[in-house]
């Protein structure tokens, strides 16, 4: 039995990757949940909004690199991120002006807005492919590791190595900062409170003199920042590909719905629940179990519940289970 090695393998292949992925999903789900809470529809264009923000950030990153500007050990993309956010904010504000506002003024039913957002999704999809193409783009630079596997093995004398990639640390730190700022904003500032009030009871918010167009515009700007940050962190951690971002819609929606649509705390919890489930269900546990069992009892199978190709099925299954037993999500959200 070698529990320490088992722990290292678990941290290395399950905990750390799932935590980073969970933070990315949480940021994505926060955007979805804010739109749902304030504008009251499920925004299917969210994945492509993330893709757009990331694409712009990548182009700016390449331009900076071309000009010889880097960010030391940190990825240059972090320098480019504010530009990506600003461009995305302009895009979503423009979309709101030219598309969503029309339906809002007619008090269109939420399902109509959902379908409209699918149209927006296709358009954004096209824009992203037009500006950056359909290929995989790797844009990570700077230091690769905070802790690398070999160094860890040599330092601890364990058989297993632990690798902690810089992008994983950056993801967790950036996500924590973004979430802290968001909650400070929602709970402490008057504008944030008026957003919460608007989400809680729109009629009453209007009667309290809160301007709906202002609340909506601020929501879009925050959503642009969250979506771009989520997309860039995901791209740094893995790579950027337009189609992958579209596929992220499912786990992101699953996270938002599992947590309770419209509830920011729920979105964060949901992000981690989905990420950990996905990683744990598709991970082959043989090595971990082998270290935990007495010698000679190593399992012969991989101990993998599902192969990684089916990872989206995990989100889907959790989504269905939660909707069956708790339609408003684990934390109280608006019911779907």
């Amino acid at each position: 039995m070698e529990p320490l090695n088992a722990l290292v393998v678990f941290l290395n292949f399950v905990f750390i990757p799932a935590a980073a992925y969970g933070a990315q999903l949480a940021l994505g789900a926060l955007g979805v949940t804010l739109i749902y809470g304030i504008l009251r529809f499920s925004n299917f264009a969210h994945g492509d909004t993330m893709a757009f923000g990331t694409a712009i950030t990548i182009l700016v990153t390449f331009a900076l690199q071309g000009a010889g500007v880097t960010f030391g050990p940190l990825p240059t993309a972090l320098l480019a991120l504010p530009v990506g956010i600003a461009a995305t904010a302009l895009l979503v504000l423009g979309t709101d002006r030219s598309v969503y506002r029309f339906y809002r003024e007619r008090k269109a039913a939420p399902v109509i807005l959902v379908i409209v957002s699918m149209g927006v999704m296709f358009v954004m999809n096209g824009i992203v492919r037009f500006i950056i193409g359909v290929e995989d783009v790797v844009f990570t630079d700077g230091a690769r590791f905070v802790i690398d596997a070999r160094g860890f093995r040599e330092a601890t004398g364990l058989a297993e190595g632990l690798a902690l990639r810089s992008t994983q640390v950056i993801t967790l730190v950036t996500a924590a900062v973004a979430v802290a700022l968001l909650f400070w904003f929602l709970n402490r500032t008057r504008t944030g409170k008026s957003m919460r009030a608007f989400s809680d009871n729109e009629d009453l918010a209007l009667l309290s003199g809160i301007s709906p167009e202002r609340v909506v515009a601020i929501t879009w700007i925050i959503v642009a920042a969250l979506a771009t940050t989520a997309g860039v962190l995901y791209g740094l951690d893995k790579s950027f590909k337009a189609f992958t971002y579209f596929q992220l819609l499912l786990p992101i929606f699953a996270a938002a719905i599992v947590g309770g649509l419209g509830n920011p705390v729920g979105a964060i919890a949901g992000g981690f629940i989905i990420a950990f489930s996905e990683v744990m269900v598709t991970y082959a546990w043989r090595k971990v179990v082998a270290y935990l069992l007495p010698e000679g009892l190593e399992p012969t199978s991989l101990l993998q519940l599902m192969s990684t190709e089916y990872k989206f099925a995990v989100s889907f299954a959790i989504l269905v289970i939660v909707l069956l037993f708790r339609p408003t999500g684990l934390f109280k959200g608006q019911s779907v």
Partner: protein, 258 residues
């Protein structure tokens, strides 16, 4: 103060408000009564900008306010409450009141970050104001309660409190007494009278309790089937035959309006 000219609000073919004309004079507590389904709430909804009228005009102090959205009417001093009280359920009672006052420096994110001292002062001032309002309404002890946990009657008081956080010019109250016990109803009545006398609020009050209407309101407007049936002092309204018949449900089709 408020003039309503030949206002119509139709839902499909159904005429919820069917050519109503009325005026609310400044400084009055005007009562609005009528059987269920008469169109009172719908009239409020149109005046207060929640629903667009099918046709007709609403003016306030001579200015056309037809179809203005509620948040703009708020800034002109026109406020209303709902038949079923609304509240920000996840906020405390005090926070509910503090949501109301507009145009403070806390509005800007810049200030929220860089002028925190001033924001804090303003918040403190607002909290004091909210507490005064709660004191006035005799629900000071509920200040830190989540508004969602209040009883129906307490929510009605909170709604009234909302209108006291600013200097309203005219306040529309929809069924202030619905689901409210006698003591609470008297509290509400006293608050309305004091606001009217001390702060010059004009009120338009929908209420089914005739004692309440008789004690507070002059004049009283009666609506039935989307139209204004009668208007006058409370005593004469209660003796008006057409009004009695409307309430007894025989309708006014054969009788003709008073």
């Amino acid at each position: 103060m408020i003039e309503v000219h030949d206002l119509h609000k139709h839902f499909g073919g159904f005429r919820a408000v069917d050519g109503a004309s009325l005026s609310i004079r400044p400084g009055t507590i005007t009562g609005l009564i009528g059987p269920n389904g008469a169109g009172k709430t719908t009239l409020f909804n149109v005046i207060a900008g929640r629903l667009p009228p099918t046709s007709g005009r609403v003016t306030m102090g001579g200015e056309d306010i037809t179809g203005l959205p509620p948040h703009e009417l708020f800034h002109k001093g026109l406020l209303r409450t709902f038949q079923i009280a609304h509240e920000f359920s996840s906020m405390t009672v005090r926070e509910n009141l503090m949501m109301v006052p507009p145009n403070q420096s806390g509005e800007s994110i810049w200030n929220a970050w860089f002028a925190r001292g001033r924001i804090r002062q303003e918040e403190a001032r607002l909290a004091r104001k909210a507490d005064e309002v709660l004191e006035f309404l005799t629900i000071r002890h509920l200040a830190d309660e989540k508004a969602g946990n209040l009883s129906g009657g307490q929510k009605k008081l909170l709604e009234l409190g909302r209108t006291m956080m600013v200097d309203a010019r005219i306040v529309f109250l929809d069924e202030v007494g619905a689901g409210v016990n006698r003591t609470l109803l008297n509290t509400i009545g006293d608050a309305i009278v004091r606001l009217n006398r001390e702060r010059g609020y004009t009120f338009c009050v929908i209420e089914h309790d005739m004692d309440f209407i008789g004690r507070l309101c002059d004049p009283v407007i009666v609506m039935a089937e989307g139209k204004v049936l009668a208007e006058g002092p409370a005593e004469s309204i209660m003796r008006n035959e057409a009004v009695i018949e409307a309430y007894l449900g025989r309708g006014l089709r054969n009788k003709g309006a008073a």
